[in-house]
């Protein structure tokens, strides 16, 4: 079954389900600042024209919260809540993202890695996915939080 992004242009989904997704960013050839998402004009030095890059698959939690409501747009009605974080990537960008895990799984400064959350199936039967971050100690088999991991899902 194919996986399609909730919106094009923000992340790349690898063909191999074992590979993490990659956030699509830009780097300014003039001042070196990196951005997510991709942009034409450098927000720091206003240079026109940036280079495409793929951002790191790991970052650290700058701040986080846990929402005690279902994730909007997710099909599983029984999902009680989900974590949200701002994640600082090594290249510089701070990315707001869903977290995988329960309310007790996160702390500021914790290292997290990127993977994919399945929101629902579209009319073609494809999985509609969005990126999320996950602490290393929260396993794919965990049943808490924002739902089962997509890795290895049927």
């Amino acid at each position: 079954m194919a996986r399609v992004p909730i919106e094009e242009g923000f992340f790349r989904i690898p063909d191999d389900p074992a590979e993490p997704p990659r956030l699509l960013g830009s780097r300014c050839p003039s001042c070196g600042e990196a951005f997510f998402p991709r942009r034409l004009v450098c927000a720091a030095c206003l240079h026109r024209g940036t280079d495409d890059i793929e951002l790191s698959t790991h970052g650290t939690i700058y701040t986080w919260t846990y929402c005690h409501v279902p994730l909007f747009g997710k099909k599983d009605a029984d999902v009680a809540g989900y974590g949200v974080a701002q994640v600082d990537l090594p290249e510089g960008p701070r990315v707001q993202s869903i977290l995988f895990g329960g309310p007790g799984d996160f702390s500021i400064g914790m290292e997290v890695g990127i993977d994919l959350e399945t929101l629902r199936q579209n009319a073609d039967g494809d999985d509609v996915v969005i990126y999320r971050f996950r602490p290393a100690h929260v396993g794919a088999a965990a049943s808490t939080g924002s739902g089962p991991a997509t890795d290895g899902a049927p």
Binding site: C67, V69, F72
Partner: protein
């Protein structure tokens, strides 16, 4: 580059608002009409006196403002739509004040309205469910700010709850507030409410509601002639900024902007008015989520960085305190329909400066500060004063 405006020779001519609440079966144009008619009555005017109008709302629809203005009559006046998310009302007022101060109009109207009950799902920020920033609850973005504050400063949920209780209790004293509790709200009650996004409970978050509020600005000689027995309230200065880039800026999501934006905007407004935080009698801020209010105590200059918790513990921002905040209940209790939030804030600021805020009046109020942030994001700070201030 002019990011702050100073106003000369102008005054508030009239104010009017429809109490915020749920008006599911009332068209927004009727809410706007009723608020506008109250403001015209307060000013002693009809539409024939209005030279220019600025209308604001955040509903994703065009032409609503022009259509709402027709409820007062059709005189051919210029009408311009203003939209700056939560800050829409204050920015419509800023444009009306500048239209008069610049001399192009003698009288200008800022009319704002919204119906959250007409909006669904994404809170009206325009993201459909197939957009990258759709899945996350907007409250989460402010909860992220609260969590970081707790980490950096040792702030407790009790501090946020105390601010919420203060605003709920102010709302009970204000006839224009959506939430009017029948009992004194305690911090314990706020903490015991359902958690939405940690550490924020439902009682720390603004309600979704409908409403309208209108402010009319005019040349001060017009206002003196129409309302000779009323204390004159003057718009003094207005600052408006969008973000400047810094590392860690987030581009995706309903961005709430860096905290420094409010601080820089307030400094511009104070400088333009020739005033400082010590001159302010009563303040209003964007307390859509009450942890914001705590941050703004510092960013608006009312205490040093890191001391906001002491202000809360000392009750300094409540009745009888050094700098009362959000005396109409703020966004927490008065409500936050979006567009009219800023003009409702001005409604209360003007009542305070006229000495008409019965049951919640700040003694001897001479200067009011109104602040809002708008998602995207922008910040605006406006200063108003009674006759003799800043002149």
């Amino acid at each position: 580059m002019t990011r702050a405006l100073t106003f000369d020779g102008i005054a508030i001519a009239g104010i009017g608002m429809v109490r915020f609440g749920m008006y599911k079966d009332v068209p927004s144009a009727f809410l706007a009409r009723d608020a506008g008619l109250l403001a015209l009555h307060d000013a002693g005017m009809t539409l024939a006196d209005i030279d220019e109008a600025f209308v604001g709302y955040i509903q994703p629809a065009s032409m609503l403002g022009i259509k709402a203005m027709k409820e007062f009559g059709l005189t051919g006046l210029p009408v311009t739509h203003i939209e700056n998310a939560s800050a829409t009302g204050l920015v419509a007022f800023r444009e009306a004040a500048w239209a008069v101060s610049s001399g192009r109009a003698d009288v200008a109207m800022a009319l704002c309205f919204d119906k959250m009950t007409d909006m669904t799902g994404t809170g009206g920020r325009g993201a459909g469910r197939d957009q990258i920033d759709a899945p996350i609850l907007p409250a989460a973005y402010f909860a992220l700010w609260a969590q970081r504050r707790m980490h950096d400063r040792g702030t407790k949920p009790e501090h946020f709850a105390a601010i919420a209780a203060k605003n709920w209790n102010y709302g009970s004293a204000c006839p224009f507030a959506h939430r009017r509790s029948d009992h004194v709200v305690t911090a314990e009650e706020v903490l015991a409410a359902r958690v939405v996004a940690e550490p924020l409970t439902t009682m720390m978050c603004c309600p979704a509601d409908d409403g309208a509020a209108c402010v009319i600005v005019a040349r001060d000689d017009f206002v003196r002639a129409r309302q000779p027995d009323r204390p004159l309230v003057r718009p003094l200065a207005s600052a408006l900024t969008s973000e400047t880039y810094s590392r860690g800026h987030t581009f995706v999501g309903p961005v709430v902007g860096p905290a420094t934006m409010t601080r820089d905007t307030a400094e511009l407004a104070y400088e333009a008015a020739g005033l400082g935080p010590d001159d302010v009698s009563v303040a209003f801020c964007h307390d859509a989520f009450v942890n914001e209010e705590l941050e703004y105590y510092e960013l608006l200059g009312f205490c040093p960085e890191g001391d906001a918790e002491k202000l809360v513990a000392g009750g300094e921002t409540g009745p009888g305190g050094r700098i009362p905040f959000n005396t109409d209940g703020g966004l927490t209790a008065r409500g936050h329909p979006g567009g009219p939030t800023g003009t409702a804030m001005l409604h209360e600021a003007v009542l305070q400066l006229r000495g008409q805020a019965e049951g919640r009046q700040v003694d001897g109020a001479r200067v009011a500060l109104t602040h809002l942030v708008g998602g995207g994001s922008i910040a605006t700070v406006n200063l108003l004063g009674v006759e003799g201030v800043g002149t």
